[in-house]
Amino acid sequence: MTNAVELRNITLAYGSFVAVENVSLSIEKGTFLTLLGPSGCGKTTILRSIAGLVNPTAGDIEIAGRRVNDVPIHKRNIGLVFQNYALFPHKTIFDNIGFGLKYRNVPKPAIAAKVKRALEIVRLPGVEKKLPSELSGGQQQRIALARAIVIEPDVLLLDEPLSALDANLRDEMRVELKQIQRQTGITTIFVTHDQGEALAMSDRVVVMNRGRIEQMGSPFDVYEHPQTEFVAGFLGNANFLQATVVAMQGEAVQVRLAGGANLLVGGGHARPVKPGDAVKVVVRAEKVVVTPECTVPIMARIVDVDYLGALARYEVELAGGQRLRALSSLHEKARSLGETVGVGIDPEHCRIL
């Protein structure tokens, strides 16, 4: 089976600035893939090069098995949704959604039927005669989505489509977008800098930084098994601990923290290690357990407390002066500043980078 989209060694440079460097990516048909990264990481540039709005300096782009490097944008059969909707302000909703069909020689009655169906999919039936300015932001974005999917594109490209919406609407649209994608089965590439969106919506997440792919995998994979410090730091709330490898215990690794405490790392390692190596151990804040019992091997002192209602965020200092952030759900009173506590870290949830 051919992939929906195939990028081979894509490089894109503007003069001396390299926006995308040697990126290869295969996207299976029907996948919801997210390009995630900070602004300027090259994710939008990749999206625009798939769309044909920019041309890669080197490398090949294939859509549905066809090399499209020299195919102009209007012959690529893609659906594009922009951050600010880009609905044609002088055309009715009907003409907006029907726009792409007009250039595909779809007969008039069929256009009307398809537009009606698209409006049902985005759950806005009956707005055909309105102008875009008569709809709210969320509704406009649904129309933009309808306009992009009605042409049955080979791939749907979404450029931060939720970022112009306010928080509540964004969550609602996020769920709906995912449902529509599942329902239609259109291969979708979604660009965002919001890790929450990426984790919640995607089948696959591609984390990008400085024009390169840092890691790709399922949302669970990239969150639980980060390959690089950047990925660990960008997704969620990570602690990095300096440590030295003491011994290998089968799959697990025994390390000694800078303060002298021992820690068992069972979450794997990004590269091979041997005893004596200096390593960085990553552990997520919500996986650090703060307990009053002093039975656990690592002792710490609380140096900062943020009371968040359902949660508390602690900053604790270990014996060697290293600090750790811990996010715990509160079943009882929050610990207080200066208290000495035990810090429990499940071996499963720490990982060597």
Partner: protein, 267 residues
């Protein structure tokens, strides 16, 4: 009366005087054009359309009017076409020397018209040509073009490229995207540019005197010629017509443009 009320009173008075100063001459011309008197001044001796009638009988005036109309229309059409294309190139495309072109294109606005008039005439001489109708037309195009470019450019910057990109992604080619999306969105500015170009051409006197071939009069040069002989009340009637055309057209254009924009962005 407290101090702030007195201050406001003063502001109102000054405002009134400024407007009076600006509009009194125009109003006087409009009123006097209906004066029945033999002389083109006050006092009014009665209401009459006599001078308008005389004007229609005056062959040289009618000829000059037709000349001006023709030049104005051709200037407007040529300037709008070239000006819109230039604005598109300057806003949407990158090419070497863009900054220079951008600066030079507004040049004719900055150079005094008289200088421009003499300059074009001398250039024409140097090329071995006498003043002719083509030169006159070319001069008017030169004068009006920058305004069209500036007006369309300003609107084009406001029409984000993303609309065109959306149209392209949906399968329209560049020409179709321009016709369906860009053109309707910049239409108000294009119309405004069209009317502006016509008005500038129709009004122009200082450059026209240099460029017109012998025997050809435009409306403003005709009026100038008439004034040399005598102040006939016909001139008041003629002035009133000129005012209606050159003030009315841009106002009409502005209203049309606002209407289109409101329809596009109806809340």
């Amino acid at each position: 009366m407290n101090e702030s009320a007195r201050g406001w009173g003063l502001i109102k008075l000054v405002t009134f005087l400024v407007y009076l100063f600006m509009f009194a001459p125009i109003i006087v011309v409009l009123i006097l054009s209906f004066n029945a008197s033999q002389f083109g001044g006050f006092p009014m001796t009665g209401f009459s359309l006599h001078w308008y009638g005389e004007l229609m009988q005056n062959e040289s005036v009618v000829r000059a009017f037709k000349t001006s109309l023709w030049i104005g229309i051709v200037t407007a059409l040529v300037c709008t076409t070239i000006g819109t294309m230039a604005a598109l190139a300057l806003v949407r495309y990158e090419f070497p020397g863009k900054h220079w072109v951008n600066a030079l294109i507004v040049g004719p606005v900055l150079v005094p018209e008289t200088v421009l008039g003499v300059g074009l005439l001398l250039a024409n001489r140097a090329a071995g040509m006498k003043a002719n109708f083509g030169l006159l037309l070319l001069g008017h195009i030169l004068l009006s073009l920058p305004y069209v470019v500036l007006v369309v450019q300003a609107r084009l910057i406001g029409v984000k490229r993303v609309y065109e990109e959306a149209a392209l992604s949906l399968g329209a080619n560049r020409l179709q995207a321009f016709r369906e999306i860009t053109m309707p969105l910049i239409m108000p500015a294009v119309l405004a540019g069209l009317l502006l170009a016509f008005t500038i051409s129709f009004d122009n006197v200082s450059a026209s005197v240099f460029w017109r071939p012998p025997g050809v009069e435009t409306m403003p040069t005709e009026i100038l010629g008439m004034l040399k002989v005598s102040i006939s009340p016909q001139i008041n009637a003629l002035g009133a017509l000129m005012i209606v055309i050159t003030v009315g057209l841009p106002l009409l254009g502005g209203a049309l443009a606002r209407l289109t924009i409101r329809r596009q962005t109806k809340a």
